[in-house]
Symmetry: C7
Subunit: 88 residues, 7 copies
């Protein structure tokens, strides 16, 4: 294999660090039980615990509920949708 | 990507620290098995173990039971609903 | 957010420490499989392993069995019902 | 809350240490899959791994099999029935 | 057994290090729940958390959705398809 | 409680150490999914990972397959049947 | 019990070290969900993460797919079939 330049550039960068860059922006989180939460992420930690404000809960196609602020326990998460920022 | 100001402001803040700020206030906890507990959180720790007083247990739409004080084991938790405080 | 006085008073207190205060008193433990055990807790540790004496086992509404002494493995626990003490 | 005397007496005692006191005596172990094993516990460790001799396996009301010696992996255990000793 | 030369050559190399070599290339990830995500991996960490851009989601034979950027939590992953590079 | 002599004799002995004494002898391993493997254990480690040679696979009453050598991942194990040695 | 010679010879040998000896040889991996992957193992690490090349995927009796290179996450593994080498 030929080492690629991108590897040396990216090694050491941590996805969780990338998450902290989305603080105060809208994210969408899908849990292992297929519930989805969309809202403004106002906090996160190294366990992927997330605090989301103005969270809308979806199940399948439908909107189920809204919450002013929820703390999602990281180990329930399947993936987080991040929206690329302008200029990226 | 352009680093955002919010990142530097928020990095290091921990959701679990935010939870301790809700001590002695009403929270609502949803477990992975969809049971919900609402009451006054009087204690918590780094495993997200929570002690709730005057806890009301809900399943779906219905109220099932009340408990003077329960300790919920953190690893059962899906999310915690936190109510923003006045002035926040 | 405005830091609340209660936070500074309670930070550092651990639910598991609170459990040790219930040693030699009656507790009720609900497991993830919905079995419930009620009896005198005579010992506990940092994994939430509990030793209960004169334990009564319930499933749904019915009483199923009694045990002179059982050690419940902590990671099966959903929550522990603690009864506030007189004077609390 | 009023600290109880029993707390100070019992803090630090570990259930797993209590288990070691049952070495060479009969215990009954119920696993998460509801299989039950009864026999003489001849060894144990800090993961709650147990070695049981002359083990009888039960499923529901029925006896299924016997084993001269089995090592049960601790993380399968729901609870261990301990029989109080004479004089306790 | 006869130690093979390849062992001494490969010991110490870590699959997760191999993953970092695929940064900025297309990978396909299959999760434990059989959902599949294909796209450009732009970041990864030691928990196998992966950030994928232009991610296409598949379920069975069908394409379900696309996402500009998602962070997949490592513990959901069954396997990652890596495409050998030219010259390997 | 009265401390028993056997406790002091046995404390500190580890089941996993006992397993190493069965190296090169026949064991029978039952997994959480009820598959059973019987053969000569030629290696083991502290995670209860086991290497078994001439392994016969059973499901329920029937023999399903044989393998010259398999490495069973420890966290799948429910219990290991150990056969007491002559003279024990 | 009588300590056996084999114990002293084998203690300390680690199955995962044994796995590294199979690098560049054909192995067959069965996952907890009963999918099977067969191919040349080109890398592995201490979490039992494996990189397999020319991997053939089987489900039950049937061949489902082939992959030039996949990284299987270790915690999905039930067992690895290792083929004894000539001369062993």
């Amino acid at each position: 294999m030929t080492p690629s330049q991108s590897t040396s550039l990216n090694m050491g960068k941590k996805p969780l660090m990338m998450v902290t860059r989305y603080i105060n922006r809208v994210i969408k989180v899908r849990l292992k039980n297929d519930l989805v939460y969309e809202g403004v992420m106002v906090d996160c930690d190294g366990y992927m615990n997330l605090v989301i404000e103005k969270a809308v809960e979806y199940e399948g196609e439908g909107r189920k509920a809204t919450y002013p602020r929820i703390l999602i326990r990281g180990n329930n998460i399947m993936y987080i949708q991040l929206l690329p920022m302008l200029g990226e």
